[in-house]
Symmetry: C2
Subunit: 209 residues, 2 copies
Amino acid sequence: MCMPCGRGRVKRAALPGEATTPMTETYYTNLCAYAKAFVALTPDRERLLCTLGPAVRPHLDAVTDLLYSHLQTISRTAPFLEGRLPTLRRTHRAWLEEVFTTTYDSAYVERMYRVGDAHVRVNLPVEFMAGGMTAIADALMPVVVRLTAEDVERQIAALGAVNAALGFALIVMQESYQISRLLSEQDKFLAITGLSRTTFNNLAATHAT
Amino acid sequence: MCMPCGRGRVKRAALPGEATTPMTETYYTNLCAYAKAFVALTPDRERLLCTLGPAVRPHLDAVTDLLYSHLQTISRTAPFLEGRLPTLRRTHRAWLEEVFTTTYDSAYVERMYRVGDAHVRVNLPVEFMAGGMTAIADALMPVVVRLTAEDVERQIAALGAVNAALGFALIVMQESYQISRLLSEQDKFLAITGLSRTTFNNLAATHAT
């Protein structure tokens, strides 16, 4: 299915421990529209991603290989890969294919949102998202440029679509990462001060007035 | 000057109110090396950026125009531009040129670090950095692809260098944005609870043991 932002989806309830900050359907729908506008992920570009999909697909194993080979050479990222490489590679490979096949709707936003949230729960540093996405673009752009080499305008259109799709995922992940990170910092603060969440909320309400 | 990571620079002291989180020279040097490794901003790519500079330069006004025209169409970014457009455009245009002329060293990292910090002080939402960088890539990639259109391998090399340079700036900005944001949240927490920073630090030390 290659349709821009589908509607009428039934929202799946968050599983226990799956996400610390579940949001409403409206939240994901609004975030979808906002992130699309920001990175110019237009319906034309969504269609182009789908059109590129079949030609790009045979190269996605190599893109995944390049990414993880690269991450293993960096001292701060390598420890996060230890013992988890097959799982991470599988998840990443599936997501890469999704870039060229997904419906960019609130359901996709919700999935990307959970990824950002999960990054906080496993204490992944903030720069892993921007750094990772840069490394993915680095591995993916040559594939796209070669596949469209016969026509400069098509190269530009294809690169623009891929750039928008990666930027879209990055915005959504970082949104949830920041919310989860701030909530987790608040929890630490409450634990240190011995204040309950209720007492703190009451103090905050008084402070705001 | 187009030299990878210069050394021996005299560190300029932060001006009052210029940065809430000034860091040491060693911090910027380490962040420089780490961010370079993450986005694969190699000496070859730094040299290539310099080589591309003269041909790219005449297009940078148009890239800046495209970026700010786009940001003005987005409801959440438009209010941040009101009354500040000439200054923002000038600063952005200067930075764009720097991408193709700067020495990617700890001094550049320090400048980018202050940008992330400044974003927190003017309450810029977190997604403005990833969204903005995606929009910059969107405007810049067509220029690079056309300038190198005679040779696919040169297109790939040029796109890789630009992608690494933008990713590098994004990592550094987001690093300082997150640190400043967490400090600013801590300050809010202290103001709400009426705790002094010293009392809180003492409690934190007790909590950690």
